[in-house]
Symmetry: C2
Subunit: 109 residues, 2 copies
DNA sequence: CAAGAGGTACGATAAGTCTCGTACCAGGAG
DNA sequence: CTCCTGGTACGAGACTTATCGTACCTCTTG
């Protein structure tokens, strides 16, 4: 039901930066950070101009980097930013990323 | 004499994150940020437990990502952080990186 | 001059990444 | 039941990265 994620203390900053190096993933993170609440969002609600399997790849990258939690609901999949945990582990990073790559639209493929 | 660097406005955030994903390079940047002044430092003054050619590779990665300027002095090579430019382009990023990966020692190989 | 330190360029190798197509699975709508 | 939507897993292809060794360069020092 819920995809496995690394414990927050085992999250590696290098892997986080590698995850944030991709413009698509960075846009997703920026959008999640911009959301006021930490509510779940449908993965399908993000505009990602790539093939289905590539989407899966990107979600996995974000999940394994420790940035998000994913929950499989049978039909759709839902995503939630690990905001509080992440903020405790890497203070200020999420804010900086969101400020630097404003969430508005996804790069036109 | 001076190695070419990209104009600050052409610096890509993705490339910056990719450069910062490597622990060796991240340590170097953190150390440069921690230095109060923006004086030049000898490249040889950084402890990098890798082969000479690998060092060249890492310095190039940082240079092409737009983080540093390098100057060839015949015998040694010197490096300087593009602090002010970078701060204008990506406000807060350098500070966040330095705070998150404290400059102290290089990861033991 | 000869030797050493610091560094680049090039080529090789191993590993990782991004992308996709195909096959397949679950749930909801007709 | 049949189709559509949203998704995973797997495998392939093209590209990038990290690492090294070797050859070569430049400057300083003995």
């Amino acid at each position: 039901m819920a995809f496995p994620v690394p414990p927050i203390d085992e999250v590696d900053l290098g892997q986080v930066f590698r995850a944030l190096a991709d413009p698509l993933r960075r846009a997703v993170v920026a959008e999640l950070v911009a959301d006021d609440a930490d509510a779940e969002r449908a993965c399908a609600s993000f505009a990602m101009p790539v093939a289905k399997s590539t989407k899966t790849h990107h979600w996995r990258a974000l999940r394994e980097a420790g940035l998000i939690v994913q929950r499989d609901a049978g039909n759709g999949t839902f995503v939630r930013l690990r905001r509080a945990e992440f903020e405790r582990r890497f203070p200020g990073l999420l804010g900086t990323v969101a400020r630097l790559s404003p969430a508005g639209r996804v790069p036109h493929g």
